[in-house]
C-alpha cells in the first residue's frame, strides 16, 4: 500500500517538476529586475536577450523530456513491475553517492562497472584503430589491394558482432580478451571503409600540386594525404566508437566479469528493475558523450 501511495505522489511530482524547469528561464528576469539600473545598460539588455535565446533553445528539448518522463510514469503506473521515474531517481541517487565501493568482483560500484566497460572498449577500439586506419589508407591508395580486400570486407562486415564471440573464446581461451576481440572485429570496418573512401576522394588538384612541386612521399603524406583524409577518418572513428559501445553491453552479458553489461544481467537476476533502467540511461549518456566529444574533435579539423 505504501509503495502505491508513494507512486501516486511521485506521479504528481514528476508532472510538476519539469514544468517548473521549463518555466525557469522566464522567471530569470525577476532577479535582474531587482537590480533595475543594470537592466537598462547594454550588458543588461544583452543578458536578457541571452536568457531569452537560451529559453527558446531549451524549450523544445525540455518539452520532449517532459513528455518522455510522463509516458514512463504512465506506463509505470499501469504496470507495477516497472519502477516510476521518482523511484528510479531515488535508486540512482543511492547508487551514484558511492560509485567506487568494492565488495569483491560480484559487487562493485557503478563507477567501476562503467570504467571497466570503457577500458574494454578502449582496448578493442584502440587496436581496431591502429590496424584499421593504416589498412584503410593502403586500400585507398592501391587499387590492387582494394580489389583484393573488397570481397573479404563485404562478407565479414555484415556479420553480427556476437557471432564472433565463440571464435574469440575458442582461440583466446578467456572471457576478457574474447570480449575485447568482439569489440575489435565489429568496430574496425567503419574505420577501414571511411579512411579508404577519404583517400580515394582526395581532389586530383591536390595531387597535381604535389606532382608539380615534386614533393617527397613524406611531405605528400603529412601535408596533403593526412590532412585531406582526417575528416573521413574521424567520421569512421565516430561510427566505430558507436558500434563498440553498442556491442560491449551484449558482449559483457555473455562473458561476465565487471562491466556495465554484466551489471545489467546481474541486476536482472536480482530483479532490481530500477537499476536496469539506470543502466540504460548510463549507457545512453556515456555513448552520447563519446559521440559528442568526437564531433567536437571533427569540427576542429574541418576546413569546408
Amino acid at each position: 500500500m505504501n509503495a502505491v501511495t508513494i507512486n501516486d505522489r511521485s506521479l504528481k511530482e514528476i508532472m510538476n517538476a519539469p514544468e517548473t524547469l521549463a518555466l525557469e528561464p522566464s522567471n530569470d528576469p525577476m532577479p535582474t529586475a531587482r537590480r533595475t539600473p543594470l537592466l537598462e545598460t547594454e550588458t543588461g539588455k544583452r543578458f536578457i536577450e541571452g536568457v531569452l535565446n537560451l529559453a527558446k533553445a531549451a524549450f523544445p528539448p525540455l518539452l520532449g523530456i517532459l513528455f518522455f518522463v510522463a509516458l514512463w510514469a504512465l506506463v509505470a503506473n499501469t504496470n507495477k513491475s516497472i519502477p516510476g521515474p521518482v523511484e528510479t531517481w531515488g535508486a540512482a541517487v543511492v547508487l551514484f553517492s558511492d560509485p567506487f565501493y568494492n565488495n569483491g568482483p560480484n559487487d562493485m560500484g557503478i563507477g567501476w562497472n562503467i570504467l571497466n566497460s570503457l577500458y574494454r572498449v578502449g582496448l578493442g577500439f584502440g587496436a581496431a584503430a591502429i590496424i584499421g586506419i593504416p589498412l584503410g589508407f593502403m586500400i585507398g591508395r592501391f587499387q590492387f589491394l582494394n580489389q583484393m580486400m573488397s570481397p573479404i570486407i563485404s562478407i565479414l562486415r555484415p556479420v553480427s558482432p556476437l557471432a564472433w564471440l565463440p571464435i574469440g573464446l575458442l582461440v583466446l581461451q578467456k572471457a576478457e580478451p574474447a570480449s575485447i576481440w568482439v569489440i575489435f572485429i565489429s568496430s574496425i570496418w567503419p574505420m577501414v571503409l571511411n579512411t579508404a573512401a577519404g583517400v580515394q576522394r582526395i581532389p586530383q588538384d591536390y595531387m597535381n600540386v604535389a606532382r608539380v612541386l615534386n614533393l617527397s612521399e613524406f611531405k605528400v603524406f603529412t601535408k596533403i594525404l593526412f590532412p585531406a583524409v582526417l575528416p573521413y577518418v574521424l567520421t569512421g572513428v565516430r561510427l566505430s566508437i558507436g558500434v563498440a559501445w553498442l556491442v560491449i553491453v551484449a558482449a559483457e552479458m555473455l562473458t561476465g566479469g565487471v562491466g556495465i553489461g554484466f551489471w545489467v544481467w546481474d541486476e536482472w537476476n536480482n530483479l532490481n528493475v530500477a537499476h536496469i533502467i539506470i543502466a540504460i540511461f548510463v549507457v545512453g549518456i556515456v555513448g552520447l558523450l563519446l559521440e559528442q566529444g568526437l564531433m567536437l574533435l571533427a569540427k576542429r579539423f574541418s576546413y569546408d
Binding site: V212, N214, K223
Partner: protein, 265 residues
C-alpha cells in the same frame, strides 16, 4: 638561336571507355625566352591538355617536348603551374602554401630565415602581405588566385604555366589581376604560357596568340603576333585601332572559321 620551349609533332591520345580519343595532333610550337603565349580556343579543344603536356602532368603519346634543350619528363618545379581553381591546400595558411613550394625548391641551399624572406617577398609582390596568415577559406577568390600565382612565382620557374587563372573571377577582379600579372611578368621577365577563352585577355597580355582548332584531334590553327608596345595600358588600348584589329582577327577565327560545333543531340 634555339627556342626556349620546343614542341615538335606532339599528339595526345586518351584511352577512354569508348575506345581511343585523339585530343591533340601535330602540335608544333616554338617559344622564345621571355615570351608571353596565350592559348585560345573553344572549350574541349585541348588547350588545357597542351598546357598539361608542357607541365608534365600528362605524357605526350607522340612527339617531343623540350625545355631549354632538355626533354620534359614528368612535372617539375622549374615549370610553375597556376591551376584553374587555385588548388591551395585548405589546411595551410597563404604563407604556408607558398612556403611549401619555396622549401621544396630552395630548401637544400638556403637557411630557414632566407626561405621565409623569399616567401614574404613573393607574397608582397602579389600584394598579400596582410593576408599571409589567413587560411584559403578566409580570403576571397581573387586573393586565393593571387596566392596560387605567388606559389608558382616563388619557385622561380623557367616557365610559368597559367590554366585559365582568372576564369572563375568577376570582371573587375579579373582586370585588376591582369594588370598585376603584366607588372609581375615585366619585372621577372618570365616566359609564360596561358590558357584562356577570353579574347580581350589574350590580346592584352600576350606577345603571340596561339589559336586552336576544334577537337577532337585539335591542332594549332593560326598564330597571331600581338605587336602592341609595352607597357600596355588597358584604357589607351580601348581607343587603339590596332588593338581592335587584332581583337577582331581572333574573333573572326573563333566564330567564323572555327564555329562552335553543333551538338549532335
Amino acid at each position: 638561336m634555339q627556342s626556349y620551349v620546343q614542341i615538335e609533332n606532339a599528339s595526345m591520345v586518351f584511352n577512354t571507355k569508348k575506345g581511343k580519343f585523339t585530343a591533340l595532333t601535330d602540335i608544333n610550337l616554338n617559344i622564345d625566352q621571355g615570351e608571353f603565349i596565350a592559348l585560345i580556343g573553344h572549350s574541349g579543344c585541348g588547350k588545357s591538355t597542351l598546357l598539361n603536356l608542357v607541365a608534365g602532368l600528362l605524357d605526350a603519346t607522340d612527339g617531343v617536348l623540350l625545355l631549354a634543350n632538355k626533354e620534359i619528363k614528368g612535372p617539375g618545379p622549374e615549370r610553375g603551374v597556376v591551376f584553374q581553381n587555385h588548388s591551395l591546400l585548405p589546411w595551410l595558411t597563404a604563407f604556408e602554401n607558398v612556403y611549401l613550394a619555396v622549401e621544396k625548391v630552395f630548401g637544400c641551399s638556403e637557411t630557414k630565415a632566407q626561405l621565409k624572406a623569399r616567401t614574404s617577398a613573393v607574397l608582397e609582390l602579389v600584394g598579400l602581405t596582410h593576408a599571409a596568415n589567413k587560411l584559403p577559406g578566409e580570403i576571397s577568390g581573387g586573393m586565393k588566385q593571387r596566392v596560387g600565382i605567388a606559389r608558382a612565382l616563388a619557385m622561380e620557374p623557367k616557365v610559368l604555366l597559367l590554366d585559365e587563372p582568372f576564369g572563375a573571377l568577376d570582371a573587375l577582379t579579373r582586370a585588376h589581376l591582369q594588370d598585376e600579372l603584366m607588372k609581375i611578368v615585366a619585372a621577372t621577365k618570365s616566359t609564360v604560357i596561358m590558357v584562356t577563352h577570353d579574347v580581350d585577355e589574350a590580346v592584352l597580355l600576350s606577345d603571340r596568340i596561339v589559336m586552336m582548332t576544334n577537337g577532337p584531334a585539335a591542332t594549332i590553327g593560326e598564330i597571331l603576333t600581338v605587336d602592341l608596345p609595352r607597357p600596355r595600358e588597358r584604357l589607351q588600348l580601348a581607343h587603339d585601332p590596332k588593338y581592335h584589329a587584332l581583337r577582331s582577327e581572333v574573333l573572326e577565327f573563333l566564330y567564323s572559321r572555327q564555329m562552335r560545333p553543333k551538338e549532335a543531340a
